[in-house]
Each structure stands twice: as C-alpha cells, then as structure tokens.
Assembly symmetry: C2
DNA sequence: TCCATTCTTCTAGTAAAATAGAAATATTGG
DNA sequence: CCAATATTTCTATTTTACTAGAAGAATGGA
C-alpha cells in the first residue's frame, strides 16, 4: 500500500459520519445495506450520505452494487487490513518484536499531561 | 475504545505530515527522536510540527519525554492497536470469520427499502 | 412513453483544520 | 541572574472539508 492510498483510507474513516457508516456496514456483514437504509438508520440527508459514500468508495472502504433503483453498499476489509501493515512497515528498523503491545509493567506514559 | 478516541486516532493519522511523523517514529523505534530532529528530517517549520505533535499526543499516537531543552517523541502502538479492534467490533453480527478476506460472493438480497 | 423511486452530482454557503510568524515558556550553562 | 537553545502557544490568514437544497440521471412498472 502506498502513502497516497493509506491516507485515503485514513481520511475515509476520520469523520464521525463516515466512521458510523463503516461500522454499521461492518456489523451487517457482506450483504450490506441500501443507501436509503443507511440514510434512515443514521438520520442524515441523502445528499450528505452520498458525498461520504463516494469518498469511502474511492478509498476502497466500501463496495457498491446496483439493485434496481437502489444501490447496495457493503464494507470492504481489504483496505483496512492493508492499512495496518502499512502503518507498521519497517517497524523499529526491522525488529518487529519491539512493536508488539507492551506489557503494563514496562509501559511508560509521559509525565507531562498536556491539554 | 470509544468512538471519540477512535476518531482522534484516525484524525491523528489522516494527514500527510502527521502520517510521515508517525511512520518515521515507528521506524526508529522506542528511542524516538527529538522534535528538532523530526522538523529537520521532514523539512517543516517548528511551529507546524508542534501543532501536529500536540494533535498526535492527545490522540495517544505518540508519547513524549523531556531531555534538557529538547523533547523526545516516540510512537505509541497502543492507540493504533486498539483502533483495529474498534473498527471490527461486532463484525458481521459476531460471525468473525466472515470478516476474513473474502472470496467472490454472488449472494444477493431482495431490494426492499423498508424500515 | 410517462411516472414514481432512488440515488448522485451540482452548487453555494458554512465549518473546521492547517500554516507559519511572533511572542512566550522551559531548561541548562556560565 | 542572564543568555542561549529548543520547543510551545498565540494569532491571523489561508486552505480544505462538510452540509444540504435543487436539479439531474438510472431503473423499473403501468
């Protein structure tokens, strides 16, 4: 995965509405939902939904199929799975074990709590 | 992980500069880099870097430690790992195997736009 | 063909995020 | 205490993203 597409996937999820859409589609599984069903479920206008679905579709987060006058959308896990590999590529200069979730005993949080 | 913090993590990575920062810190490993080293490496002004590091710090993507007049930043994988679980939570109504990379499915449902 | 559905694109207005200079802050050494 | 260094916060400006109404396009039925 290239930086460009990793950014698309991240941007495709980094919005409250789009994250809701994705998780909803993840929950229902491969059969997905019709655009209208998503709009009703999340209570957002169709035009707004369409804007986000286009974004997510280009990012590879969802796939669509037309069914009559409706369009069925479903989550595509491939983009998300690829993202994780991308984020940890060349982790710790090749020493992957250092990237494993650290144990609590060795974890160190920063002392200066910003915000 | 809650939706709010998942969004913070995603937003924390969904920007070209911040993604570069994160991957750079992932590569160098636990020892991290000083803020100034990051700025030099990525060729961005210190104020811009600081803006992004604050963002990422609040998202839990990086941790910092002061070393004299410098501040050392390093990647924290916990937030990213938690994100993946969050994204696939309740996947396919509990049928996790359905989330594995899929084969070409011809399954199809009747187009009823009810609800 | 004409019409009702369903969804998308167009468009313009609104909101949010990013940039970077100037000023401020924390630290250490003299 | 003062100066030098590294970084952050403040601020204004610019850029990008989101929203949603109106209009347009695809589909299937009568």
């Amino acid at each position: 995965m290239e930086t460009e597409s990793a950014l698309q996937v991240l941007t495709g999820l980094a919005h409250e509405t789009r994250l809701s859409i994705f998780r909803l589609l993840v929950e229902v599984g491969h059969e997905g939902l019709l655009a209208g069903e998503i709009a009703t479920h999340l209570e957002i206008p169709g035009t707004t939904l369409s804007f986000h679905l286009k974004n997510m579709s280009q990012a590879g987060l969802v796939v669509s199929e037309r069914l009559g006058t409706s369009i069925r959308y479903s989550a595509d896990f491939d983009a998300m799975n690829g993202l994780v590999s991308y984020l940890t590529a060349n982790c710790c200069g090749g020493n992957m074990s250092a990237c494993a979730p650290r144990k609590k005993s060795t974890r160190r949080r920063k002392a200066t709590a910003s915000r």
